[in-house]
Symmetry: C2
Subunit: 494 residues, 2 copies
C-alpha cells in the first residue's frame, strides 16, 4: 500500500518528507511529546534521525513526554546519545533508566491518568512539537493512531507543530478500534459517560488542525514488542491464589478487571481462561497476549485499554485476526482508560505488582532499595486509589531467597496501607480489608511472607509492639536494617 | 417546639421512647453506624445511655462506624468505658485515640470517600444498627440530617434497625440545606452529574423504610463543637504564602477549593477574604467559621461539604442567620463530597496539612514518629490523588524548633511524592511540579525548611547523592536518625 493511500487530506501530500528533514523541526531545548505507550505505536524514524544528528556532533537535548514506556528507536536511541534532558512519565529501557539514575536525565514519575492534564495545565512546560505514529490521516486532518493511544490526542492538541510518521507496517484495519475523547479542562469539564467498558464516547481519530502538521514521514519500522517469558511456577501460583480468592469473594461475576503489565498479569489472564467466569470485562491500561486467548475462548465481553503490548508472536496473531479482535478491543486515551472517575464508577478490580510490601500493607513498586528507579508507578496509583477492590501481587522472595519481598518497612511507598485491600504472593492471600495494622501483621506474615523470613518478621514486630507500641509499631532504628544487610552481605538473612 | 411536630409520619409516633430503651437494641458484638462528621450531627443521648449500661457492669463492646470524628458524647463516652472494639474511619478524641494506640480498639484509617461503599461491599462487616441524629422525620419516613451528612444515608440503607435521635436543639431551618444521593453500587453505578459546586442532584432527606425505625429518641443535647484558637503568626504566614502563590499561579479565578480542618485552613479562608478573589467556590469536606465571613462578604458562589464544623460561636452565628447561609451551603454525603470523580472533574485545589514532609516531597499526616496515630488520613487522600492542584501545608518546625517538619524521610507515608504538587511552610512555597526528586530537594530545603535545619538536610542529601546515588538518594541506615535523635535527646538537632 502506497503512503498516498493513507493520506486522505490531499493538501497534506506536500508535507511528505524524509525523517531527516522532519527531525529538523526539533531543536535543542524543546519539549517533544511523542505517541507510544509500551513498545507500541511510538514514532521510530524521526527519533532515529534526531539521534543521528547528535551522533554527528550537534548539541541537542530535549524534554521527552510520551504515554508511558516506548520502544528502543525512541527512548534508547535518544538516551544512548544523552539527548534527553527531561523525561515524563514512565520508562523501561536500560539506557534511559541508567540516564535517570545517574542524574543525566531529570525524571518525574507521574500517575499516568494525570500526565495529559498536567501538560495542558502547564506543569510540565510548553509543548513545542508532537511526533506521532499514525495509520492514516483523514480528510479533516484527523490522525488515526496505531497500536496505542496514550497521551497523543492531547499532545496533538497542545503542540505548536505536529510531525506524523505514517507507518505502513501498521494495518489499515486498526481504523475503528480507537475511541478518542479529550476531556475539557475545568471549569468546563463534563462527566465521562462510560458505565460499561464496551461503550464508545468519542471519535475514531485524533482531531488535528491540518495547518499544524509540518511534516509527514513514511515509515515501515515495526513495533519492537518484548518477548514474553514462559509462565514460571511462582507466577502461576500467585495467579491461582488470586483467582481462588476472587471466586469465593466475588462469586459468579467479576467487576471489570484492571491488570498491570508483565508475567504475573499474563498468568492471571491465563488463569481466567480456565476459570468459571464468562462475560469478562477488562477496564485496563495494556492489552497483553493472554487477553487474545480470552477473546478466542468467547469469554470476553469487552477489553478497554490504552495500548496493545503483546509479544512479537502476539502482535502477529493480532494482525492476522485483527477484524475479530477489533470487535472486542477499544483503545482510548490514557486520560480516559486510567481516569479515577471510571475506575471508581465501575468498581474495577485493580491488580498490580509490587517490588516489595511491608507487614503493615504498604507497597513499593518503583524504587529498588528506595533509591534506584526501575520503571515508574505507571497507572497503578490511579487504579489503587480509586478501584473497588485493590490487589497488589509480589513473590514472597527474590534473588534466590536472599531478598524477602515482605519486609518490616518498604523503602519507598507508592501505594499506602490506606488503599491496599489484598496482597497476594505465591504463599497465599492476605486479605487486609477492615483490619487494624496490628492485625494486618499476622495476615502478612502467616499468609504472604516466605516461611524462611517469618520468624524474623515476627521478631521485628513483637519487639516493636513491646518497645514502641502505638497503632503502627515501628522500630525506627532498624526499619531498613533488612535492606542494609542485603546491601552489605548479599542477603537479608541474618 | 414539640417533638411530635418533627415527626410527620404519625405512625412512627409509637416509636418514641427513651434513650435507655432505644439503647437496648444495641448488643455486645454488634456493628453500629452512627451519624456525625466532626463534632456535628452525631447522636448523643443513645450512646450516653449505652455507656451507662457498661458502667453498670454490662459487657458490651461494639464496632463503631461514623462519618469521621464525632463529639464526646459518642467517641469519648464509649471509649471511656472501653466499649469500642473496632472503629472506622477517623477520630479525634483523646480517649478513643488512647484506646487505639494502646491496642484496646482496632482501627483502620480509611479514605473517607470510600467508607460507605466499603461498608456496603461487606469489607467492614454487617451493619446491625444505625443511630442517627435528625432534625425531623418526613411523612415518607425520610430522615432530615442535622449539621452533618457523612455516611448516614448509606448506614440507614444498610442497617437492620434504625434508631433516630430527633434533636430539638437543631433548628428546623436546616431542612433544605442537604442534598442526598447514594450512588448505586457497580455494575449499576451512574455518573454523578455535578459540574458546579452549587448543583443539587438528590433529595433533601435521607430515604428510610419506616419499618426499619425501631426507636425515636427526643434529644436536646447540643453539638459540642471545638473552640477555635486565635490565628497564630505561623498559620497566617503559611496562608499568606499560599495565597500569594495562588494569585500568581492561578490568575484571576480559582478552581473550587478543598480545605482541611483546623487553624491553618481557617487562616487560608481568612486570607481569601482579603484577596482579590470573588465568586469563590468551595468543594470541600468541612465548613468552618471563616467560610461564614466569606459568605457575609458576598464573595462566595457556593460552598459544598459534608459537615459544618464551626466553633461554638460560629455555630451560634450560623443558627442565627441560617436562612442566609443555607442559600450558599450544601451538605452532601461524604461519598459525594469526597468523590474522586468530582474532585478530578472540577480540578479542585486540594489544601491539606501534614505532620511532616520530606525532602523528596512525601507527606505524613497521620502517625507521629510513624507509630502513634493522631487522627487519621481523613479525606486528604481522596483530594490529593485526584485534585487538579495538590497543596500540603506544614509549619517548618514544631515543639519550639526541636522538631523539623521537613525531614530526610517521613516516618509514615500518607501522600506520596507522585501526587503532591506544592508544599507550603511559613518559610515559603515549594513548587514541585514537573521536578525530578533531586530537584525537589533544593526547593524543599531552600524554600520550605527552617534555616536552622537546612545545613543538616543538605548534608544528608549530599552524602546520599555521593554514597548511594540513584533517582532518590536515601541513606537507609540514617533515614530515620532525626526521629530517633529526637526520641533519645529531645531534639532533632545534633
Amino acid at each position: 500500500m502506497n503512503i498516498e493511500d493513507r493520506i486522505l487530506n490531499k493538501t497534506l501530500l506536500s508535507k511528505v518528507t524524509t525523517a531527516e528533514e522532519a527531525a529538523k523541526y526539533i531543536k535543542d531545548g524543546m519539549n517533544v511529546g511523542c505517541s507510544g505507550f509500551t513498545p507500541c505505536g511510538y514514532p521510530k524514524a524521526v527519533p532515529l534521525a534526531l539521534a543521528d544528528r547528535v551522533k554527528n556532533g550537534e548539541k541537542i537535548r530535549i524534554g521527552l513526554l510520551t504515554g508511558a514506556s516506548v520502544g528502543r528507536e525512541l527512548d534508547e536511541a535518544l538516551a544512548g546519545v544523552n539527548a534527553v534532558s527531561r523525561r515524563y512519565p514512565y520508562q523501561t529501557g536500560k539506557l534511559i533508566s541508567k540516564r535517570i539514575n545517574d542524574g543525566d536525565t531529570m525524571y518525574q514519575d507521574i500517575h499516568l491518568s494525570q500526565v495529559a492534564q498536567q501538560q495542558r495545565y502547564g506543569f510540565l512546560g510548553h509543548l513545542d512539537v508532537a511526533v506521532v505514529e499514525a495509520v492514516a490521516i483523514m480528510g479533516n486532518g484527523g490522525i488515526i493512531p496505531s497500536t496505542s493511544v496514550g497521551n497523543t490526542p492531547s499532545f496533538i492538541q497542545e503542540a505548536d507543530k505536529v510531525i506524523v510518521e505514517v507507518n505502513t507496517s501498521q494495518p489499515m484495519e486498526l481504523i475503528g478500534m480507537h475511541d478518542i475523547l479529550i476531556p475539557k479542562d475545568p471549569p468546563y469539564r463534563q462527566p465521562i459517560l462510560i458505565t460499561d467498558p464496551s461503550q464508545r464516547i468519542g471519535t475514531s481519530y485524533m482531531p488535528c488542525d491540518p495547518s499544524k502538521i509540518v511534516a509527514i514521514v513514511p515509515c515501515d519500522i515495526t513495533d519492537k514488542t518484548r518477548p514474553l517469558a514462559p509462565l514460571d511456577e511462582t507466577s502461576k501460583k500467585m495467579a491461582a491464589n488470586l483467582l481462588d480468592f476472587l471466586e469465593v469473594d466475588q462469586g459468579d461475576t467479576l467487576p471489570p478487571l484492571q491488570s498491570g503489565v508483565g508475567n504475573v498479569a499474563n498468568a492471571v489472564m491465563a488463569g481466567l481462561l480456565d476459570s468459571k467466569y464468562t462475560n469478562i470485562n477488562m477496564w485496563t491500561e495494556v492489552i497483553q497476549d493472554a487477553m487474545f486467548d480470552l477473546i478466542d475462548s468467547g469469554k470476553v465481553n469487552a477489553i478497554s485499554g490504552t495500548s496493545l503490548t503483546p509479544s512479537p508472536e502476539g502482535l502477529e496473531r493480532f494482525y492476522k485476526d485483527i477484524k475479530k479482535y477489533r470487535e472486542k478491543i477499544i483503545l482510548r486515551p490514557q486520560e480516559i482508560s486510567n481516569n479515577p472517575e471510571i475506575a471508581r464508577r465501575l468498581g474495577v478490580v485493580a491488580m498490580n505488582t509490587a517490588l516489595e510490601v511491608d507487614i503493615y500493607g504498604n507497597s513499593n513498586s518503583t524504587h529498588m532499595f528506595g533509591t534506584r528507579m526501575i520503571n515508574g508507578i505507571g497507572g497503578s496509583g490511579d487504579f489503587s486509589r480509586n478501584g473497588g477492590l485493590v490487589v497488589m501481587l509480589t513473590p514472597s522472595i527474590a534473588r534466590d531467597g536472599k531478598v524477602s519481598c515482605v519486609v518490616p518497612h518498604v523503602s519507598h511507598v507508592d501505594h499506602t496501607e490506606h488503599e491496599i485491600h489484598i496482597i497476594v504472593t505465591e504463599q497465599g492471600v492476605g486479605d487486609l480489608r477492615g483490619l487494624d495494622p496490628r492485625e494486618k501483621v499476622k495476615v502478612m506474615i502467616e499468609n504472604c511472607a516466605h516461611p524462611d523470613y517469618r520468624p524474623a518478621l515476627w521478631d521485628y514486630y513483637n519487639r516493636g509492639r513491646k518497645e514502641v507500641g502505638g497503632h503502627i509499631p515501628i522500630l525506627l532504628g532498624e526499619a531498613f536494617s533488612w535492606h542494609v544487610r542485603f546491601l552489605e552481605t548479599g542477603t537479608m538473612k541474618s
